[in-house]
């Protein structure tokens, strides 16, 4: 079920909300928790009920492995073995569903086997579910999991606001909230006000901003070969902004929906496009993923404890995996490696006494991120190179016709004058949205900062009502969230 659908907003969420608080009010806390688990399974199986079996199987398997791991009588060797079995089980499922065709394609490319692709339907949210459960198993093996029972574990793994696209949470930061005293399970209007505000800000970001920007990003990437300089930049920047508003919009809705149930999820975005360095970017972008890769990949690989060379290799290896996690394709791996390489360069740069002015630092960081997203979005490596070629002006430069009388001398250098929008459709609404998105992303407080300091009054209620109405009126034109396919 999509957060940005009538079914979710007007039926699923109110019914689940009402059921949960009615049961809690009657002091049936166990039943309320069960109700949330059932609702989460329904949420997951809404597209295709067969997915429920997958989810159930995965939950039961991980709970069983986790139960063995936290058993104190285990020897270290048997614990380690169980941990390997548990992690391998999760990774096997992920590899089968997500990477099998990628693997076969690469085998076919280097051999003459010509194996048939399997075209396996990817269960939604499998990448997030895998990371969440792997983190749980590792924490269980380290003795960091307490209050272990099947209901809590099921709710931890399947809690619908974060089930499909995160945030990636840890057992110990969410389960104590499920077990909070009854007084914390009754209606909390402060949280409801904050939750509604965050949810609708997220909906607005997705429906109004991200989907509008897709109107430039999609045709641009579809016709990468014919983009002029300006069009190539508009295409890449539109996608950069679209991705942020799409993903952070989803996360806002997840956090908002969760707050309605008095559950606080960790924030995932903290104005990432304001970052002055690539390291800062990864502290602000998809923060729960960054935390996961730091704690469960980078540090176990050795982190920065070894030699400088080893540290740099660890960074590259980690970001290779980050790229691969995002998608089964070489473009994603290139994107991950580019970020790994940038972080390695930044690490070396920090050791020099050189420092850049803040604006220059921001400009370099932002443009690097923007260029790297091209690989993330393009269907093929050559498609990405075509967009980048366009951005470098190698596919032709066209300036507005109005400049022709003053700059006609530039024609000698191959610069043409004419319509700036030849491949991507010109729309003033998209331009307005593009400018608004850039300003919001770079200069304004983000939605979490806004909601933290929310002081309800008539001004905020009117502003939020306008946002609600505008978003609802545009609800039927929306697309899926970009991160759904990861």
């Amino acid at each position: 079920m999509l957060f940005n659908s009538y079914a979710f907003i007007f039926l699923f969420l109110p019914i689940t909300f009402a059921g949960y608080f009615i049961l809690n009010r009657k002091k049936l806390t166990l039943a309320a928790k069960t109700w949330l688990v059932l609702a989460s399974f329904f949420f997951y199986g809404y597209w295709n009920p067969i997915y429920i079996l997958f989810l159930l199987g995965s939950v039961v398997f991980n709970y069983a492995v986790g139960s063995i791991l936290i058993h104190k009588s285990n020897s270290p060797a048997s614990s380690r073995l169980m941990l390997v079995v548990g992690i391998a089980g999760n990774l096997f499922l992920l590899a089968y569903f997500k990477y099998m065709d990628f693997f076969i394609t690469n085998i076919n490319a280097v051999s003459s086997l010509n194996l048939k692709l399997l075209h396996i339907a990817l269960p939604l949210g499998i990448s997030f579910l895998t990371f969440t459960q792997v983190a749980y198993l590792v924490d269980a093996a380290k003795g960091m999991v307490r209050d272990h029972n099947f209901l809590n574990y099921s709710l931890f793994a399947t809690f619908f606001p974060r089930l499909l696209v995160g945030p990636i949470v840890r057992y110990r930061e969410i389960v104590p909230q499920f077990d909070a005293p009854l007084r914390n399970k009754l209606l909390n209007y402060k949280y409801i006000a904050q939750g509604l505000t965050l949810f609708f800000l997220g909906l607005f970001k997705k429906v109004i901003i991200a989907d509008r920007l897709a109107g430039w990003a999609n045709p641009g990437f579809d016709a990468a070969a014919s983009l002029t300089l300006v069009e190539a930049w508009i295409t890449s920047l539109s996608y950069t902004l679209q991705l942020y508003f799409d993903f952070s919009g989803y996360t806002d809705m997840a956090l908002g929906a969760s707050l309605l149930f008095n559950i606080k999820l960790p924030i995932n975005f903290n104005s990432p496009y304001r970052s002055l360095t690539i390291q800062e970017f990864w502290r602000r972008w998809h923060m729960t993923l960054s935390r996961f890769i730091r704690d469960y990949i980078y540090i176990p690989l050795g982190g920065s404890r070894g030699s400088e060379l080893r540290t740099l290799l660890n960074i590259l290896a980690t970001f290779f995996l980050v790229g691969l996690w995002h998608g089964a394709g070489w473009t994603f791996i290139v994107w991950g490696l580019l970020h790994g390489f940038a972080l390695a360069v930044f690490r070396l740069w920090q050791k020099t006494p050189l420092r850049l002015p803040r604006f220059v630092s921001w400009l370099i960081t932002f443009n690097f991120i923007n260029a790297a997203w091209v690989f993330f979005r393009a269907q093929t490596f050559s498609g990405a190179m075509k967009v980048l070629k366009g951005m470098a002006g190698l596919s032709g430069v066209t300036l507005p016709q109005g400049f022709a009388p003053f700059l006609s001398a530039l024609k000698e250098y191959g610069i043409q004058f004419g319509n700036l929008f030849q491949t991507i459709p010109w729309e003033s609404k998209t331009l307005n949205c593009f400018i608004l998105a850039f300003i919001l992303a770079v200069f304004f407080k983000n939605s979490n900062q806004f909601v933290d300091k929310l002081k309800p009054n008539w001004r905020t209620v009117i502003a939020l009502s306008v946002i609600v109405v505008y978003a609802i009126l545009n609800l039927n034109r929306t697309n899926e969230f970009i991160y759904f396919k990861f």
Binding site: V461, I472, N476
Partner: protein, 350 residues
């Protein structure tokens, strides 16, 4: 500004949310821009979802028909009575739909068969440009969305879709047309599914409607051919007489077809089943008097097409208009088309 309590704030937001939903649903129901709810308030209908409309009509009148004309709006000028005279015992319903695609026709035929509608003969017109551009419209395309029984979706979800969308342009147009002092034309069909005789052929070819720059390429590969194969198999399986024709586009439209794609499509089509080809440059398509716009030919032309197909000697059909194409003669037919394309495009400088 004075602080509001969280409870009041939350209640107001939720009330606004539901009020918004209710208003949108009410507006869609009252204006009914695609004529789904059959609300009687606004009589003039600039457009209707004819896929829904015709299935709804047939639900009540299926016993009156045993044969169907299918195609896009170009086939609306084909009057059932003009085909019935050549197919004894057949009672045709014109199931032509705006921007109809091969996928739509397949789904409708499938529906008729599954519902047990009698289907003796299928007279289907194909359009090269539609076959090049699309197979299936997006499910959010309100004007072209199939009837829920045809697409096997829930009726509840279907009606909810039309209550919850906000097609600003369509709502505005319907309101404007109904409030206009001028008498505006309403889209409606006769009881045989075709356009009403009093509204047709009054329009004359007024202007060269631009296709936009460039040629029309086949963007969907052989997807439509695959669907046609399934359709032909369905007809064979159920003993349905299939008369397949390629519609005659005007020379203006012909000028924009990418030659290789056009010829390759015909070649593949001949492999699916024999068909009557009225396309290409011929004495009918090069005379714009036969058209009401670049794509829609007049009913007099559909009459000539039927006369050619059923060898009616009482009408004079130009010799170069309509060729019976089979697997055996497709190559010679394509050669002859190539020559006329070359000759005509040289003349017009395309």
């Amino acid at each position: 500004m004075r602080r509001m309590n969280d409870r009041k704030y939350s209640i107001i937001v939720v009330c606004v949310l539901y009020a918004c939903l209710f208003s949108v649903a009410l507006l869609n129901f009252v204006v009914d821009p695609f004529y789904i709810f059959r609300t009687p308030f606004l009589k003039v209908r600039p457009q209707i979802n004819d896929r829904y409309d015709k299935i709804t009509f047939l639900e009540k009148n299926k016993k009156n028909f045993n044969s169907y004309i299918m195609g896009s709006s170009r086939m609306l000028s084909t009057h059932p009575v003009n085909i019935e005279r050549y197919v004894p015992g057949a009672k045709f319903y014109n199931f032509s739909i705006v921007m109809g695609t091969v996928y739509d026709h397949y789904m409708h035929l499938n529906y008729f068969i599954n519902k047990g509608y009698p289907v003796r003969c299928l007279y289907i017109g194909l359009d090269i440009d539609f076959c090049f551009l699309t197979t299936k419209y997006h499910e959010k395309d309100s004007l072209f969305r199939l009837h829920p029984d045809v697409s096997n979706e829930s009726r509840c979800g279907y009606y909810w879709f039309y209550l919850s969308i906000l097609p600003k342009g369509d709502l505005r147009r319907k309101l404007k047309w109904n409030l206009s002092r001028k008498k505006m034309p309403s889209q409606e069909y006769g009881k045989d599914g075709g356009s009403k005789p009093e509204t047709e052929d009054k329009r004359i070819f007024e202007e060269r409607r631009e296709f936009g720059a460039g040629m029309i390429h086949n963007k969907v590969g052989n997807e439509n051919i695959k669907i046609l194969r399934k359709m032909v198999a369905l007809c064979r399986q159920h003993g349905i007489q299939l008369i397949m024709i390629v519609n005659p586009p005007s020379r203006i439209a012909m000028d924009h077809y990418e030659e290789d794609d056009y010829l390759a499509f015909l070649k593949e089509l001949a492999d699916v089943a024999p068909f009557w080809d009225f396309s290409g440059y011929n004495s009918i398509t090069t005379n714009l008097q036969n058209y009401i716009d670049h794509a829609h030919y007049k009913s007099s032309i559909s009459r000539l097409m039927a006369a050619r197909i059923f060898s009616d000697k009482t009408l004079t059909v130009p010799r170069d208009f309509g060729v019976w194409v089979t697997k055996e003669n497709i190559d010679s037919h394509l050669e002859s088309l190539k020559m006329t394309i070359k000759k005509n495009r040289e003349k017009t400088g395309v």
